[in-house]
């Protein structure tokens, strides 16, 4: 298994790949003024590392994100969708993520390979 970790100001994004399957896990808090400045380069690296992989992106452990994080989050999901392999995106069914789960389920209908799932908070 190969692992990558990206961390900035309370936000931790870890990725791992074993063969044709990969996982991206978000945790901590994303509330910086310009999350794109950190996340866009992370996205570019991850898309290179995870080329041709089936990817699960797990946001369920993310404690908080500001509205400025939404754009780079969508950009990552859209970039993964373009890989052409099945992508699963997980949100928590608890509290602040519940609206995101609902909205992403609606929005993801325009993406060919993305499935949105809800997971009860552990």
């Amino acid at each position: 298994m190969i692992d990558w970790t990206y961390e900035q100001d309370g936000l931790v994004v870890t990725a791992s790949r074993a063969g044709g399957k990969a996982r991206i896990h978000w945790s901590g808090v994303s509330d910086s003024r310009s999350p794109s400045a950190f996340l866009v380069p992370v996205e570019q690296e991850l898309l290179t590392h995870l080329r041709d992989a089936e990817v699960t992106v797990d946001f369920s452990q993310l404690e908080y994100m500001n509205s400025a994080t939404v754009a780079p989050m969508l950009s990552l999901i859209k970039g993964l969708d373009a890989i052409g392999k099945p992508i699963v995106v997980i949100f928590s069914t608890a509290d602040w993520q519940r609206p995101h789960l609902k909205c992403m389920t609606a929005v993801a209908r325009t993406l060919k390979n993305v499935t949105i799932e809800g997971r009860a908070q552990q």
């Binding site: 309370g10 509330d31 794109s36 500001n66 400025a68 969508l74 609206p99 909205c103 929005v107």
Partner: protein
């Protein structure tokens, strides 16, 4: 005792996280959904005040307040701003929210725009306050002092 919290801050980003934490603590005895809505709303209002506000003689800092009166939760920011384009955009967005029967549609439309054009950012905070937080938002602008007030019922 009804929770109440007021503070004045310089437009420095780290205060957003601090105040978000204070808001959560002030509402510790309230339902999780209310606490979450309030912390999101407080943070998004403060982010806007810092990003788009200006320090002026009449308003050198940003004022933030949280109050619960009877069954109503009220979160407010006050800051200076002389940018006419920014002020118009604020008014337009709040008027749009007030007129919208279905706030989730505004939010979804903006998400779809961001999905289609990932290099775009912003213009989601007020929608988030209205949709996720279920707050009503109004603003008053007088002598370049902007007061944005978000209110919602607790029960």
């Amino acid at each position: 005792m009804q929770p109440e919290f007021q503070t004045t801050i310089r437009p420095v980003w780290h205060y957003v996280r601090e105040i978000r934490t204070h808001v959560g603590e002030a509402l510790a005895n309230y339902p999780s959904e209310v606490r979450t809505a309030a912390t999101i709303t407080a943070a998004e209002l403060l982010e806007n005040a810092i990003k788009y506000g200006e320090s002026m003689t009449q308003a050198p800092s940003i004022q933030f307040s949280l109050a619960v009166n009877n069954d109503e939760l009220r979160i407010e920011t006050v800051n200076g701003c002389t940018n006419p384009r920014g002020l118009k955009e604020l008014r337009d967005r709040i008027d749009e929210l007030a007129a919208a029967r279905d706030k989730v549609s505004l939010y979804l439309t903006r998400l779809e725009e961001l999905l289609a054009r990932p290099s775009e950012t912003g213009k989601l905070g007020l929608y988030r306050i209205a949709f996720e937080g279920e707050f009503d938002v109004v603003c008053t602008i007088k002598d370049n002092i902007v007061t944005v007030t978000a209110t919602r019922k607790i029960s």
